[in-house]
């Protein structure tokens, strides 16, 4: 029996389509796995099914009846519950009070019957796996137990549909297994479960059916279950999740050395070497890699795998507390952003509007901000130097702006990104770290940024490219490192098959038969 269905659901954020006519059908008493790369549209779909976001088009039906305008409140009333990665409990209230607050919101002048709630909470927590004292403050509980309170909440609300977004991502082994057992017992009690996880073995062991999303569209819905083989196994899913054929315009990677004069230099000089770098603040351990001049080094990995953490280390924002950085055979330090800039390391941050540009300031001021020595020699403004610098980068990067005095916040996303990039290029870096340089920019600007990245490598800059867009990463990189859980787990030559790289990022050993390069330990 179908309890919850999304039919032809589409949703766009600005110019970026998050979902394109996606379909999903959840049956009572079944676990339904939802798979897809970062940005495939999984979270948006969950948002629509829980009423947090309204679809641009398409229908959400509950129990076969289309629901015109789903809100978080009406979704809860219809028996749809969601377990988020980060449980949202009121930290200062006790567990029992949190449950009472969710399941029986206080009315004006209403009385809270503490004793009755305490025993009800005890009962629900026991069904959710136990081990939680209803009188402890919710904020004092470790994450797995907070998650259990969320599940108790879902049980108490009599949910017929349970959406679980990466429920085991932050759990240790024994907790994971307890959670999986709980999911099975919920299935036995005729609850429909949507299970989102990057841990494909887990999905394979648990799911009755699996839907794969790619670029916001439903690629396939397949029967699943333990012991099945053929296209339903994990390797097949991985192939469906990623685009096997690189899209048109993505040429095979060309290295700097064989670009131009045609002479291939097999060993380009090293611009920056990372030797067993670690940093507790960003959860990075024992990362070693070479960033050769004139080459694009790619960094693949799931969101939260530590890629941005490495960028923060190199930017001097979170200095490494273990290992060394090497430049020209010397040990160097990047303890502050200013030190990193002085070394010739530039980092284009991931969050453009918060970190990449200062929206309230002019294009010229933004471009000049990381090069004070050129625009403020001796501390005092040289207006001509600022005009020259701004004019140069506006032309060189074809930044579309009414003028150098225009506020950056008024430009389009792609042009803001070019301003952010221009700021770093103005520092004449030797090493350029690009964290998601094309995220949220339109197709035209994306192609332009790709061309700029290739040109920069051609001019001898060492580039570290971090991207969740695997085809982009594969087509641009000369060499590729894969991050998982704060470690560098694999390295591949450029142009490696996408499924091999994806398998390494997911930590699936069985997916591929031929692992080239150094494989996962």
């Amino acid at each position: 029996m179908t309890v919850l269905e999304a039919r032809g659901v589409s949703k766009a954020f600005g110019q970026v389509a998050a979902l394109r006519s996606a379909d999903l059908r959840l049956e009572a008493g079944q676990v339904h796995g939802l798979l897809g790369e970062n940005g495939a549209g999984k979270s948006t779909l969950v948002g629509i099914l829980t009423g947090l976001q309204a679809p641009d088009s398409g229908v959400v039906a509950v129990g076969g009846q289309p629901v015109a305008r789903l809100t978080p409140g009406s979704a809860r009333a219809l028996g749809i519950a969601c377990i988020h990665q980060q449980p949202a409990l009121v930290p200062d209230l006790s567990v029992a009070e949190n449950l009472a607050l969710r399941l029986d919101p206080p009315r004006a002048l209403g009385r809270v019957r503490r004793d009755r709630w305490r025993s009800r909470a005890l009962d629900l927590l026991e069904r959710a796996g136990g081990g939680v004292d209803p009188d402890t403050e919710a904020g004092a509980l470790p994450l797995p137990l907070r998650q259990r309170v969320e599940i108790a909440c879902a049980l108490g609300s009599g949910a017929r549909v349970l959406l679980m977004d990466e429920p085991t991502a932050s759990l240790a082994r024994p907790d994971q297994e307890r959670l999986l057992a709980l999911v099975r017992s919920l299935r036995a009690s005729e609850v429909a479960i949507l299970y989102i996880s990057h841990r494909l073995e887990e999905v394979a062991a648990l799911a009755d059916r699996v839907t794969v999303l790619r670029d916001g569209a439903t690629v396939a819905t397949l029967p699943a279950g333990p012991g099945r083989s053929g296209p339903h196994d994990v390797a097949g899913w991985v192939r469906l999740m990623i685009d096997r054929d690189p899209p048109a315009g993505h040429a095979a990677p060309a290295t700097a050395a064989d670009r131009g004069d045609g002479i291939v230099d097999p060993r380009p000089p090293l611009a920056l070497g990372l030797r067993a770098i670690g940093c507790r603040a960003v959860g990075i351990q024992d990362v070693s890699m070479d960033l050769p001049a004139g080459r694009i080094t790619g960094l693949a990995g799931l969101v939260g795998s530590g890629r941005t953490g490495l960028a923060r280390i190199l930017a001097g924002l979170d200095p490494a507390d273990a290992g060394t950085l090497e430049m020209d055979g010397r040990k160097v330090h990047a303890r502050t952003p200013a030190e990193a800039i002085a070394l010739g390391i530039a980092c284009l941050p991931e969050d453009r509007r918060r970190h990449g540009v200062i929206c309230g300031m002019s294009v010229a001021a933004n471009l000049a901000l990381a090069s004070p020595g050129r625009v403020f020699p001796g501390g005092w403004l040289r207006a001509q130097a600022e005009r020259d610098l701004a004019g140069h980068w506006i032309r060189a990067l074809s930044i579309r702006t009414p003028g150098p005095a225009a506020e950056v916040g008024t430009l389009s996303g792609g042009n803001q990104q070019k301003v952010a990039l221009g700021r770093w290029l103005a520092t004449s870096p030797r090493v350029l770290v690009l964290d998601e340089p094309t995220q949220g920019v339109d197709v035209g600007a994306k192609a332009e940024i790709h061309r700029i990245i290739r040109d920069l490598a051609g001019s001898g800059m060492a580039i570290l490219l971090i991207s969740s867009d695997l085809p982009e990463l594969l087509s641009l990189s000369d060499h590729l490192h894969v991050f998982r859980a704060g470690r560098c787990v694999a390295g591949f030559p450029g142009g490696s098959p996408a499924d091999v790289v994806m398998a390494a990022a997911l930590g699936v050993e069985a997916a591929v038969a031929r692992p080239p390069g150094e494989d996962a330990p």
Partner: protein, 317 residues
């Protein structure tokens, strides 16, 4: 909601117009308002407040606030008086001691805000009490130091050629200095960047902590200098000197168009904002109006200008 065709006046233009209106009204109602003597006297009386407002502007531009400047002025005054009378220091040394006291007080704020990353509103609310309390403790609340030598008093009461008070060139220098610093120096650009987005500035390599520290330190030094000016003008050093002046400075800065969230604002705006307030007080006094009216009209002017500013989308993010 900007109407097409008519460019909205800037905050500076608005304040300049307001200043002209004030001048016109008080020239009629005020006894001797339009005289040269009064204009020169105004510079003498307004100097301390002007110094504080001009020094507060960079702090606010960088997204901070300093509520302790009035108290710090009081503490520095008491330090000046006691160093001269009780410690027997010659007056130039005692004056330098007052400036050093201001710098030290500014450093306390600076370290708490920039190094310990405490909220500047809470920190300076604390030092607002702390500095005033120290000043009262040093004088036991009643002790007033008087009888300063004539050479010292001539700093605040004397006049240069043509009857120009000593305060006039000092205020002009402070205006020029702060304008250069905010609009023509790297510090000003980076204060602004921090005010718009501290995280964004940090990512761009701006030394955020050091810039915040410098802004608070500078404000402290200004409070110390203002203390010397005030003691030499009124001829006495007492613990309640500068009471309420921190709010006058904040009002001038906000009236001048500087956003309390940081980033936007100008020195010209701050100075005009301060001038509007100072002329209002002076004009009402000469028009034989009660002192309470000054407070009421200050509030009306501030709210009126803010409403006008909001209409032209003045409080942009």
């Amino acid at each position: 909601m900007r109407r097409p065709g008519i460019p909205a006046p800037s905050r500076e233009t608005l304040l300049a117009a307001l200043l002209i209106v004030e001048g016109a009204v008080f020239s009629v109602t005020g006894h001797g308002f339009a005289s040269l003597d009064n204009v020169l006297g105004l510079a003498r009386l307004a100097c301390e407040g002007g110094l504080l407002a001009l020094a507060l502007a960079p702090v606010v531009l960088a997204g901070g606030i300093d509520l302790s400047l009035g108290s710090l002025l009081g503490l520095s005054s008491v330090v000046l008086g006691l160093l001269w009378r009780d410690a027997g220091w010659p007056w130039p040394w005692a004056a330098a001691g007052a400036v050093a006291c201001g710098a030290l007080g500014g450093l306390v704020n600076a370290v708490a805000v920039a190094r310990l990353r405490a909220n500047p509103l809470i920190v300076t609310l604390g030092t607002l009490s702390l500095f005033r309390g120290l000043a009262e403790a040093l004088t036991r609340g009643v002790d007033t130091v008087t009888g300063f030598p004539a050479a010292f008093l001539s700093l605040g009461q004397g006049a240069l050629a043509g009857g120009v008070p000593v305060q006039a060139p000092l205020l002009a220098a402070a205006l020029a200095g702060s304008w250069l610093l905010v609009h023509r120096h790297r510090c000003g650009r980076e204060w602004r960047a921090i005010g718009f987005s501290a995280e964004g500035a940090l990512h761009a390599g701006v030394p955020v902590g050091r810039r915040r520290l410098q802004a608070h330190l500078l404000a402290g030094v200004a409070a110390g200098v203002a203390a010397v000016v005030q003691v030499s003008r009124v001829g006495q050093a007492k613990a309640d000197a500068g009471t309420g002046m921190e709010l006058l400075a904040v009002t001038a800065v906000v009236l001048g168009g500087t956003h309390l969230s940081g980033g936007q604002g100008s020195i010209a705006g701050t100075f005009l904002g301060f001038a509007v307030l100072a002329v209002l007080r002076n004009g009402l006094q000469l028009s034989d109006q009660p002192a309470e009216l000054a407070g009421i009209l200050t509030g009306v002017v501030l709210l009126g200008v803010l409403v006008l500013g909001a209409r032209r989308g003045g409080q942009r993010g």
